[in-house]
């Protein structure tokens, strides 16, 4: 539950009278066998689509995951149409599909798809649907004066209206100056216009924390916060439609990897495995990863201080 962190973190910041302290440690971790990893996030942008088939590594081993070569990777739709993925000759474990004259983009909205990955005797599969996506109305910047915690800053906001009818799930991906905002704390997902399936916020503009989720909160070497955007910076935003299962996956991924530490540890959740929608149809050996096909809408804007709304 991300909202909980939004509440607790400012709260604990205020408890300045007591200071939690942290030490980096090097514990010995339990051993485990490598597992097969399938990373299959497809979209309908007119570009090459990539599926990675890899093996996991020990947690502290900061290396590129070893690839699984010689797999047969394809996606088929409910009409029997098959998209065959070709093995990369340069990077082990990567399989790609490229648009051609017949298909300028991958798939169509509303269609259901089956992913099949065959590695030797083992067949893995997964199912998903390409869901609808709303257009982005606008991207705005605003200026806010600083305080003790934060400098004078330019903040951005992305405006889009959730499609009417409950159950739409989106991943809002932001790029600052062309660079994807890739911190776990920057995972920005929406269930309809809000955070969760349990409280229905349907058919309205994305709520403010989601609109503002396009701002990076980086710190300088003295741990002072930096303005998220400076004049001249660009922001490019994509909304990817995702399945409800993919929403749960990204939500769990954020819980497991976005660990602010300190007092927030009082309210941490137990470490557990994020869900997967891959199945091993051959044996009980585990497989992890996720399969989603997204429809994408996008917009971009450059910050021009001359052109800001005045409060």
């Amino acid at each position: 539950m991300k909202r909980r962190n939004h509440v607790i973190i400012p709260l604990v910041l205020l408890i300045a009278i007591l200071l939690a302290c942290e030490d980096v440690i090097y514990p010995e971790l339990p051993q485990a066998d490598p597992v097969t990893v399938i990373d299959a996030w497809i979209n309908n942008k007119p570009e090459m689509q990539l599926i990675k088939v890899k093996m996991s590594l020990p947690y502290f081993q900061a290396q590129v995951l070893p690839g699984v070569q010689g797999a047969d990777v394809s996606i088929s739709d409910s009409n029997g149409k098959t998209y065959q993925f070709i093995e990369s000759e340069t990077i082990a474990g990567e399989y790609f599909w490229e648009p051609d004259d017949q298909d300028s983009v991958f798939g169509e909205i509303g269609q259901t798809y089956t992913l099949t990955v065959t590695v030797g005797e083992t067949v893995y599969n997964s199912f998903t649907t390409m869901n609808r996506v709303p257009d982005i109305d606008s991207i705005n910047f605003r200026f806010e004066e600083g305080n003790s915690f934060f400098p004078d800053s330019y903040f951005a906001g992305v405006y889009a209206i959730d499609l009417l009818g409950p159950g739409d799930t989106y991943w809002i991906r932001s790029y600052k100056n062309g660079e994807f905002l890739n911190k776990p704390s920057e995972i920005n997902i929406a269930f309809d216009a809000g955070f969760t399936s349990g409280s229905v916020v349907d058919g309205i503009t994305f709520i403010q924390p989601i609109r503002d989720g396009v701002n990076p909160f980086d710190q300088d070497e003295n741990d002072n916060f930096l303005s998220p955007y400076e004049p001249g910076d660009s922001l490019y935003v994509e909304i990817h439609s995702i399945s409800n299962e993919a929403f749960l996956f990204l939500n769990e991924l954020a819980i497991q990897t976005d660990r602010p530490g300190g007092f927030a540890e009082l309210f941490a959740l137990p470490l557990s495995n994020v869900p997967t929608n891959l199945n091993n149809t051959t044996s009980d050996d585990p497989v992890v990863g996720f399969f989603n096909i997204a429809a994408v809408s996008s917009a971009g804007r450059r910050l021009d201080p001359e052109n800001l709304p005045t409060e």
Binding site: W41, T205, L266
Partner: protein, 797 residues
């Protein structure tokens, strides 16, 4: 089966008594025992009748009653820290004896050899019960010098916490939500200020603290782990008094006075944190409407209409307020009110009627403008009614009969969001429930050595409309359950009901004057549940009723103990207790559970069984310049839930094998006293990842081979000390000072150990470089990683 045995015993005891009734005329000695200086009722004071080598103790209102055959008796009235009073009585009619005991002077305490200390801990049938008097609590070194009831009981055997800053406490492996915390009979749903750093009870207004960990009498129910019964002072009936202090966190002031001397009194006690007031001139953080403070106010009044009728009214009101600016912030607090009426039908029949109101609420508001905001209010409100009748049949036979009726209103979310001017109402339905219980219990001496306390509590729970009944289906254990049907119920329609019998039995076998063996069994059902999946419970956690999807929790506890007093005047007391608790319908959570503002909350809950077992060792020295206690517990607590850890047993997050506490007090002289306490706890369990993989731009931790909570964080140990300097007793001109004052200097975590609270795994704060492997690290967090000194000034006049 056990129910049937109890019925047989009930029948037997009545025939047993009828037989003994016939012989000689009996008369009753009864009355109240109070503190002579203030008129406060003394709870648990002993009435010892020399001739029968036995007696009774006062109840929570200070009342006692003993029925004896006509004759001459020597009766001693005693209470720890007070001078005993002895009376000789020629009993030929019912006799009312009210006793005022005088407190032993502080500086005399160590010199005067006290009258023989009561053998209560050995002689009473009660086991698995710990009492702390407020004087002891006040001497325990505390974090930032703030005397704290909840932290103090953590020094007792079988009590622990998941770590510093965590709210609540764990008893014999039970979770925080399995403790019933009662303040003058009113349930307190959140006992913490400032998350979990301080508890909400103002020590200046508290008289007596009693923790039931096992052998829980039939009058209590509703939580499967423990009952913490906190009783407030009634106020000084004799004269005006004030006490207070200025500490590191709180400033406190308590006023008490008679309304009508010796008949009626009141007490008002308030505390407020004042760091914000001190900080305001030095920082601009608190400008623009930001606030950070917490306070509590405790009130009580009592009136004696006659010797037969007493009325007590008490209330508590507390709040924590954290506001980031004028519109945004967060607050929570409890309010309780209790009205109690005691009536004596005759000397042997004591009646008490209690009415209670309790409310816990929190509010949350975000958004700087009306176009974009979020407001949320949540509340649990309880109205209770408890009649209770005590019948003192004879010194060796007392009956209790009573009932308890609670009406709950749960308001999980009264909430709305505004986004870009458009409103989304996300308010959830309120939930209503009625919990009722009636009980009967009897304490009976069978022969001179054996005492039996047994009882039966019949409890029931109605989950009432208006509301929806949701049916769910489980696809895969551990995954979110899907709703299959929703049925609407009208006002007061019963959506689901539960009925249970809860047998309670305790036995004491007196080996000799100083040694006894005890055993007990109790079954308790818990009908309302604290929903919390974080390491420590937090103020946003909601309570929820049992429904058609959430069955009542059930705990069966078996305990055995050996109790021994020794040394001159029983100055040493000791005990060993073994316990085993078996629990059913324990609540767990799916991964990624959405517990706040979720209409389909029940779909995210899992159910399992639990077991907790251990041994508690307790050794205490009550007298002398050096006194204190050593408490050691070895224990385990585990859960087994379909959908977690492959359905295998796993330790709970607060499972601690070793739990050692030492509290020591030393009275140097008239002016200086010293205290120290040492804590050692085994590291709590946690889960470590084994592997890593990447999905899109992210690194995912993976637990390959091992299950949940399979690794221990390092052990916890800490030493705290404090010194109290009492003000001079005499003025310069040699006259006795009217007021008393003292300074307390304390140091928490004397050797500045960085005690680990948790270990977490992350990618670190730096932005990962696209295309390159993501570095990972493990971080150990200490909530209080340094030495914390404190000083406070306290006064009393």
């Amino acid at each position: 089966m056990i129910g049937r045995i109890l019925i047989v015993i009930f029948c037997l005891t009545f025939s047993f008594d009828l037989r003994s009734e016939e012989n000689l005329e009996k008369y009753t000695i009864s009355g109240y025992i109070t503190d002579g200086s203030s008129g406060e009722a003394l709870i648990g004071a002993t009435i010892y009748v020399e001739e029968i080598k036995g007696g009774s103790v006062t109840n929570v209102y200070g009342y006692y009653s003993i029925s004896l055959e006509a004759g001459d008796y020597t009766i001693e009235f005693r209470y720890v820290g007070f001078n005993s009073v002895t009376r000789t009585v020629n009993l030929n009619a019912n006799n009312e004896i009210n006793i005022e005991l005088a407190e032993v002077n502080r500086e005399l305490e160590e010199v005067v050899i006290m009258a023989e200390k009561s053998n209560e801990n050995v002689e009473s049938v009660e086991m698995s019960v710990n009492k702390l008097d407020i004087k002891t609590i006040e001497r325990i070194p505390a974090l930032l010098g703030e005397v704290d009831i909840i932290k103090s009981i953590q020094l007792l055997p079988g009590v622990s916490t998941v770590g510093e800053g965590a709210s609540g406490f764990n008893v014999r492996g039970g979770s925080v939500g399995q403790n019933l915390v009662l303040l003058d009979d009113a349930p307190v749903y959140n006992s913490s200020h400032l998350l979990g750093f301080f508890s909400v009870f103002n020590p200046d207004a508290v008289k007596d603290v009693k923790l039931y960990k096992g052998g829980i009498p039939a009058q209590y129910g509703g939580r499967i782990s423990s009952i913490l019964d906190i009783r407030m002072k009634e106020g000084n009936q004799k004269k005006f008094g004030a006490e207070g202090g200025i500490g590191t966190i709180f400033s406190r002031l308590t006023l008490e006075a008679p309304i009508v001397k010796d008949k009626s009194s009141f007490i008002v006690a308030g505390r407020r944190s004042y760091i914000d007031l001190l900080a305001r001139p030095f920082t601009d953080v608190l400008d623009g409407g930001a606030q950070l403070y917490f306070y509590d106010l405790t009130l009580k009044a009592h009136y004696d209409f006659s010797q037969k009728d007493h009325l007590y009214i008490s209330g508590y009101f507390g709040k924590d307020v954290f506001k980031f600016d004028a519109q945004q912030g967060f607050s929570w607090g409890n309010s309780t009110a209790t009205v109690r009426w005691n009536h004596l039908f005759d000397e042997r029949l004591f009646f008490n009627l209690t009415s209670i109101y309790s409310d816990y609420d929190y509010n949350l508001a975000f958004g700087e403008t009306d176009l974009d905001k979020f407001e949320w209010e949540s509340r649990i409100r309880t109205i209770s009614f408890k009649p209770q009748l005590t019948f003192f049949l004879s010194p060796n036979n007392a009956w209790e009969f009573g009932g308890e009726f609670n009406y709950y209103r749960f308001n999980p979310a009264n909430a709305f969001g505004v986004s870009n001017g458009e409103i989304a109402n996300i308010t959830l339905d309120k939930k209503f429930a009625l919990e009722g219980a009636i009980y009967l219990s009897n304490e009976l001496d069978i022969g001179s050595a054996l005492t039996l306390q047994y009882g039966l509590r019949g409890s029931g729970f109605l989950y009432l409309g208006p509301g929806n009944k949701y049916e769910y289906v489980t696809l895969e254990p551990g995954d979110r359950k899907l709703v299959t049907s929703i049925e609407r119920f009208d006002d007061f329609e019963v959506i689901e009901d539960y009925y249970n019998l809860e047998p309670r039995i305790s036995l004491k076998y007196q080996l000799n004057t100083n040694n006894s063996l005890k055993a007990s069994y109790n079954r308790i059902n818990q009908y309302i549940h604290l929903i919390s999946n974080t390491t420590a419970s937090n103020p946003l956690d909601v309570w929820t009723p049992s429904t058609n999807n959430i069955a009542p929790q059930r705990g069966d506890q078996y305990a055995m103990g050996f109790f021994k007093n020794f040394g001159k005047n029983n100055s040493f007391e000791s005990s060993v207790e073994l316990y085993y608790r078996d629990t059913k319908n324990q609540i767990e959570y799916i991964d990624g559970a959405d517990l706040l503002i979720n209409e389909f909350l029940e779909g995210d809950l899992l159910s399992g069984v639990g077991r907790a077992y251990g041994a508690e060792f307790y050794f205490r020295k009550n007298t002398g310049k050096l006194n204190g206690w050593i408490s050691y517990t070895i224990g385990r607590t585990e859960l087994k839930v379909d959908g977690i850890n492959n359905g295998d047993w796993y330790p709970t997050r607060f499972d601690q094998l070793h739990n050692l506490k030492i509290a020591g007090f030393y009275d140097l002289n008239e002016r200086w006293t010293f205290s120290a306490n040492f804590t050692y706890l085994s590291g709590t369990p946690t889960t470590f990842p084994t592997s890593r993989y990447n999905i899109q731009e992210y690194l995912v931790p993976y637990i390959g081979s091992s299950g949940r909570n399979n690794i221990r964080i390092p052990d916890y140990h800490r030493l705290d000390i404090s010194a109290t300097l009492w003000g001079k007793k005499y003025k310069k001109n040699g006259k006795l000072r009217k007021n008393e004052d003292y300074w307390v200097f304390g140091v928490y975590n004397l050797y500045a150990r960085r005690n680990p609270f948790s270990i977490y795994f992350s990618n670190g704060p730096d932005r990962p470089v696209a295309g390159e492997p993501i570095p990972t690290s493990a971080t150990r967090v200490s909530i209080i990683g340094t030495i914390i000194p404190a000083v406070s000034y306290n006064f009393k006049f």
